[in-house]
Structure formats: C-alpha cells, structure tokens
Symmetry: C2
Subunit: 507 residues, 2 copies
Amino acid sequence: MEDIKNRIRIEELLDRVVSAEEAASWIEDGMSLGLSGFTRAGDVKVVPRALVKRAEKEPLKVSVYTGASLGADTDKLLAESGILHKRSPFQADPAMRKKINEGDFYFVDIHLSHVAELVRSGIISIDYAILEAVSITEDGMIIPTTQVGNSAIFAEHAKNIIVEINLAHPLSFEGVHDIYDPGKQGERMPIPLIKASDRIGTIGIPVDINKIKGIVINNEMDSPSTIVPPDEETQIMANHLIEFLRKEIAEGRLTNSLAPLQSGIGSVANAVLHGLLVSEFEDLEVYSEVLQDAVFDLLDAGKVKFASCCSITISEEKMKKVFGNFEKYKDRLMLRPQEISNHPELIRRLGLISINTALEVDIYGNVNSTHVRGTHMMNGIGGSGDFARNARLAIFVTKSVAKGGTISSIVPFVSHVDHTEHDVDVIVTEQGYADLRGLAPRERVELIIENCAHPSYRAQLRDYYYEALAKGGQTPHNLEKAFSWHTNFEKTGTMLETEKELEPTKN
Amino acid sequence: MEDIKNRIRIEELLDRVVSAEEAASWIEDGMSLGLSGFTRAGDVKVVPRALVKRAEKEPLKVSVYTGASLGADTDKLLAESGILHKRSPFQADPAMRKKINEGDFYFVDIHLSHVAELVRSGIISIDYAILEAVSITEDGMIIPTTQVGNSAIFAEHAKNIIVEINLAHPLSFEGVHDIYDPGKQGERMPIPLIKASDRIGTIGIPVDINKIKGIVINNEMDSPSTIVPPDEETQIMANHLIEFLRKEIAEGRLTNSLAPLQSGIGSVANAVLHGLLVSEFEDLEVYSEVLQDAVFDLLDAGKVKFASCCSITISEEKMKKVFGNFEKYKDRLMLRPQEISNHPELIRRLGLISINTALEVDIYGNVNSTHVRGTHMMNGIGGSGDFARNARLAIFVTKSVAKGGTISSIVPFVSHVDHTEHDVDVIVTEQGYADLRGLAPRERVELIIENCAHPSYRAQLRDYYYEALAKGGQTPHNLEKAFSWHTNFEKTGTMLETEKELEPTKN
C-alpha cells in the first residue's frame, strides 16, 4: 500500500482503485477507446483483457485507437474476440492481420503524426482513454511508462480516463518524458524544438483529475520486441548504407556526426542501425519513433549522445539492462508524443536521416510499405510517411528478394503506393544502393535495376521496361502487364518467368 | 535612362546593362540555369529567347530549373529547340508536354516546397540564376515582380546572376514581397509565421552584387492566365464544397471565417473558389501558392481580407485592374518564396483548407494528379502534395467524367499515385462529395461511388469492387483487372463496358 501511495500521490484518487473487471464493466457497446501502447511498449495490459473476457458473455463492439501496435497479445485477443468495430492506426499482430484481411472489422491506416489532429477535430472521438502510467503526481500529471504515443491527446479529449499503474516499471521513469501539445490549428505557435535533446513540455500529462474514473494496478513488463538479430545480408545492407553516408560526407553534405537519425521498426532497420556501431561516425543523435536494441548498443558504445523517441521496444535481455539501470540512460533519452516525434515541422527543421523498411519498390522508386500483393494489410504505414516526406534523406531498405527468391522486392509497378516517387531518395538492398535524388523516372530505372534488384530478376525487369518504353511517356508502363508479376506469383508461386535457379548474391 | 536609374539604384550596376544576346552568350554547354517564373508569372522573358536563338546556330544543352511553369511560350521554345537536358520542377505547356512524353529530355517532377532543399544541399546546382525584377535597391536587394518562386534560393546558390528588369511592372511592387530563408537543416530556427498576413523577412532578395554579371531590360507583361470561366458543372461543384464547409461549421470544426484557403491552379479550382463569392462566409484569408482571378474578386467583394501567395497569375482584364491600381491591393497581399508558401511547417500550423484538382481518383481515395493513363505527364505534381499532406482539410476536386463521358475520373485503381489514401480527406465532383476522414478502405468505396462517380459508371465500379471483395484483403482488388478500364479506353476509346448512353447529370 505504501508503494501505491508513492504511485498515486493524490489522496482522493486512492479511493478510485478498482479491479480490471470493474473498470471494464464501464465500457458500453459502441464506445471508442483510446489506449496507450506503441509498438508493444507501454500498453495497458489488464483492462483490455478484462474487456475481452466480458465480451464472451455479452455482445459488445468498440473502436480501439492506440499509439501503434499493442503487446501482451492484446491485438490478438481483441481481434479474435469479435469485439472490434474499428481499429486504428497501426497493428503488427498475425491474428489481427488475418481478421483485418477477412474484413472482420475496419482497420484505418493513418500517418501516425495525423492521429492527434483527427482527435482534436473530433473526427476521432474518445469515450475512454485507458492509459498505462508509472504514477500520478501531486499536481495531477499522469506519468507514462515506456511510450507516450497518443496518450496525452487521448487524455485531453476523452470523456473519462482509466489509468493502469504499472508497478513493474520503476519510478525513475519520472522525468524522462516531455509532453507538449501544439494546440489548435490556426491558433498555435511554432513548436520550440530546435535540437533532438530540447525539453519543450512537461514531465507528465496534465489532466483534470475529475475525469479519472478508475485506477487499476498491473505488474507486467512490456512484451519484448520480436526482432531477429542481424544476419549476413542485413550486415551487407548496413555496409551499403554506410558507404552512401560516407559519400555524402565526402561531398560536403553531411559531417561525421551525420544528422539526427530515424529508423523504423523491424529487423532490417535495426540491423542497419546496428551497423553504425563499427563505423567511424560519432556524436550521433537519434530523433526517432521507436528505439530498438541497436540504439542502446550505440548509446553504450558512446556513439549516440542523445536519443529522442516516442517508445522503447527492446528485447528481454535489453530490458533487464536498460530498465534495471534506468538512471544511467535517463539523461540521454527523451520520450515524446507521437505527434511531436513524427511532426513534419520538426523532421524538416532537424533534417533527419530517415531509414524505413519497404515491402516492395518499383523501377521508378515508388514504395509499398503496407499491402501484400496490393490487397492484404501487413502492419500499416506507421510513421514512415511522416518521416519520408519531410526528412533530409528518405532512405528505404529491403532485401531484394523474399520467400526463397520467388518474390522480387523490385517490381515493375508496386501493387500499392504508400510513398510516391516524390518522397523516396535512396533505396538500399543487399545488392547496393540507388541514389534517386534529382533524377527523372527514366534515369531511375537502370540505377534501381542494376544496383538494387536481385541478379535473377534484372533481365526480366529490363524486358518489362524496354517493352514499356516503346509506348513512350514520362513514366513508361505497359498497364496490361504492370501487375503481371503479382498475378503470376498467385498462379505459379513465383515471380520468376522461367523456373531458373537464383544466381548467388553479390557480396 | 532616368527610369533605369530608378530601377537600378546602385551606380556601378548601371554599367552591367547588356543586351539579351550578350547575356545569353555567357551560358555554356552543360550548365544549369535557375529561372524566375511561377505559373506564367514573373518569368524572365528575353534572355531565354535569346538563348534559344543562339542554340539554332550551335549545339547547346542546359538544365532549366524554375519556380513552376513559364509564360511567354518559353517552355514551348525551350522544348522545341532541343536545348534541354533536364527541366524541373513543373511545366504546363502542350508542346513541352509532348517532348517530355517522347523522352526528348528529362523532366523531374518535385514537390514545389522541396526544390529549395535540393538546391541548398547541392543536389541541384545552379550556374546562372536569371531573375526578373522590378528593381535593384540601394542596399543590394533584388525586388521580384509577380512571383517569388525559387528566385531567392537560386540567387543565393548560383555562381552568377543575370537580372531582367521589367519596366512593364510598376515600382509600387516594392514592399509586397516577403523574403525569408530558413537556413540550413539542423541549424535552423522555427519559421516565425503564425498568421497568413505576418511579415517575417525582407522586401527583396539580398544578394552579393558582385555575382550580378549582367542586367537586361524587358518591357513585357506576363502571359495572362488561360483559365476557363466557371461553367454550370463547376458551379455545382462549388455548391457541394460550400455544403461540406457548412456541415463543418455546424459540427463546430470551423467558424464562418473558415481557415486559410489554398487553391491549386486551374479552371476547376478557380471556379470553386469563385463560388465562395455568393456564400455567407466572410473575413476569409488565403494562404496559397498562386492567386488566380477568383481571389481578386473575393478581395474586391471584401470577402477575403488577406491573401498570401507565391505568384499572381490572372487574366488580361484582371491584370489591368490589379497591376494598374496596385496600391489598392498591396496592403492585403504578400508574395513569398515557394518554400514558405508551401512549407509543411506552416501549412500544418495554420491548418489550411486545401483545394486541388485531381486527374483521377480511385474507389479507395488514392489520387493521380499528373499522369494520363499512368504514363504520360500532364503538368506535374506542383504544390498539391505539400498542401494535401499537411492541410487541415485536403480536398480534391474533379469532374466525374472527361472526354464526353468516355473517361471516368473515378476508377478502380489509379494508374499513377501522387496522393495516397492517407492524404486525401474529401473528394468533390459535380455529383456530390465524399468525406473520407477516419474511414477504412471498405467504408470509402460506396461513399465514393455513390456520391462522386458519374451514374453511368456506378454499376461498373460496384461490379469491380464486389468481384475484388471475394478475394478479401484490407483493400480488395483484382489485380488482373485493376487497370482494365485504362487499357479498354486505349483499345475501344471508352471506359464504358457497353456502349450505353450516359445518364443525365444529377443536379
């Protein structure tokens, strides 16, 4: 109880501690919920589970908005329980993915920086904000745990708030968050952040405590990240990226401390960042969405001097090291709302180097980040659009082939466009990199094919292009065959026109 | 000569007045030129013509960068002379369009706000900046004419500058421009603009006068705009838009003075803005790229109290009225660099209502602004991406059919994506509007078909969708048929599956 009093430092709120079941009982059919949680970090853990349990006995539909993906199998439970009317803006769970693609509920895929504006304008309305916290302070601030996500904007606009106090996270998290609300469009001032390490807001989310309807206690660590360690191919990709960055330094466009780095979620982006460990670059800064393991290795090595983010999603091993020794990292870290970590104003001002993963890329540099064969949702666009559009360097990484070489990541025409040719600066695969800046579509083709496509697919890509070229145009295409690689894969199980063996990867 | 001394107010520069032919003779093969000119406004007029003339006698290739499209048939002359290696970032000339699509030279289609960053980083290097001006002041500032475009960034980074002093524009233009340079990424401060009418910079482009190699005199008005006056259908579209805006006011998201308006170039966008003349909205502000006739009508009617822009492109009649009486408008106008008029930081902060023209839209809300049948360039993306991504409301307008009803502007899959589903809020056609905010792809389909598609194509669109739906997915598609409407048009001259008569337009 003493511990609870340290965590809930307003006397009258102590009476509002309830069970997860009781809190879940307040949710009514048709409501919209705003949950904390961003890439498995800082998500509320026990109330959603109680809600799903309740839905076993009575019909219930809710819309669930979050920062990004949830951990603790919550997205799986929500999807499989049939409780969902709508889910937004991001998920990464295989069971949820399946249900989305079966049309079981609506999934709304939104730029992560845009969610706050939609809440502010009332397009997304929130009945209950359900937010994980390490504590509620004397002056009525909710201190988040390992993410900020959309928690601040949900708290401000929700009719009611339920807080999950997580005892598994130390109170030393207090002071690592920086909560800033730009305010209404048309009335707001410039966001006063000019360096990744600038503190511009408060250490917690200021709330009207009368809106806090209940407080639930949990004692669960975040679900650890599921990223795969770097392999030989991702190491090669990291080397290509480093080679490109060296060229930028040689040409006077970057210095040895580069520019603030953003790296998307996922194994490839993590591996690429990991590759910087053995580079000559130093005094690096990170201004990103999610911090994965690699950033903490770079902090440990003294390569990165400051890291700003919106969530921390790390492996179990790294969690023990970082959260068990948080004071060591605290003054080199800051956690911000996703509206701020992903804000176009700041991304452009800071001039980020942005590294995100592509699902497929076409010969003109358009990128698909979300839809398998143009139809089936993978995870969502996340923050990749926020960053790519506004970054100093919008870099997309992907292995050149997938599924044992039967899928080429470089295709004639991407089956879904998330990032247009206007927003893609550099493509990196294990084959090499293509620097597309300032180039016309016809200049891009050969560069992408020669530098990025797998050797097994190069001739086939050129065949497509030369046939299209005969028809003319700024961006030559043969619309009859533009998606033939995708439809061939569906029919034959491979994009390769003849069943030839894959040529060995170039090193 | 007295007039010239008023126009060139630094003694030593008077000696640098040369003929257009002499100035053109300095340009060397392979050079990159940065020309003033934005949507036919404020373009240099005599030096490019002399350069084209010179190229008749000797082989010469240059790359030409501008603000946007040029007037005075310069783009036509450049394209047809064979002088071009590269042209960027925008054009709107039929002869140039033809040459681009024939692959005669490279056209690089760039977000208009991004050009300055590419110049700053040296990806685009400028040998000669050739800039139209009303004057050069005592303190060494170049005062532009009817556009700012990229003139400031070209002047700063060019090795040499040639100025065309245009005597046809009155000196009263001095004081209407606001030149602001954000500086290097990573070192820059917030842009201190918080209202459309804020002055944040200088009245001219500060330059090192040693870089001014020559000054040429011209005395030509801008080419007048070629927009078509509003017709019955555009009037209906304006009414739909006004109806939507009224709903936003009723729901408390806007007030009667709306939010700063941006409207793209073109007859439809102009007509839609013109429709506001007879609306109840008042005290409007414009924060746009190009001011067309409609904005001056709104200023005259007292509906618009301030208009910020990057260029003024108006009809001959309107030119006489506005430029002949410029003092009357001057304190309600400001001309800014395109980096500032189109800056994501400012568009998001001000919360613009952005109205741009779509070439085609698909059933999920993706927009093609540039490529006819996916391959042939129309004009370029211009600023539409800058605005749509960051605006409070990203509205796209298009007539539901083109070419006598043989082309549906609403298609199963757009043949080129410039604006993804993530960036498109509202679609308006003469049939009605579809408000897509917060909606999943499967929710968008029926809304777009029923509210925006032409009645003749609705059943055919539904047929496509229901067949695709059987295959499942977040965004159901049948990739075998996704572009069949486009390929059918090529084969049969119509997208209509059966040669049925068009149903009459709904009023």
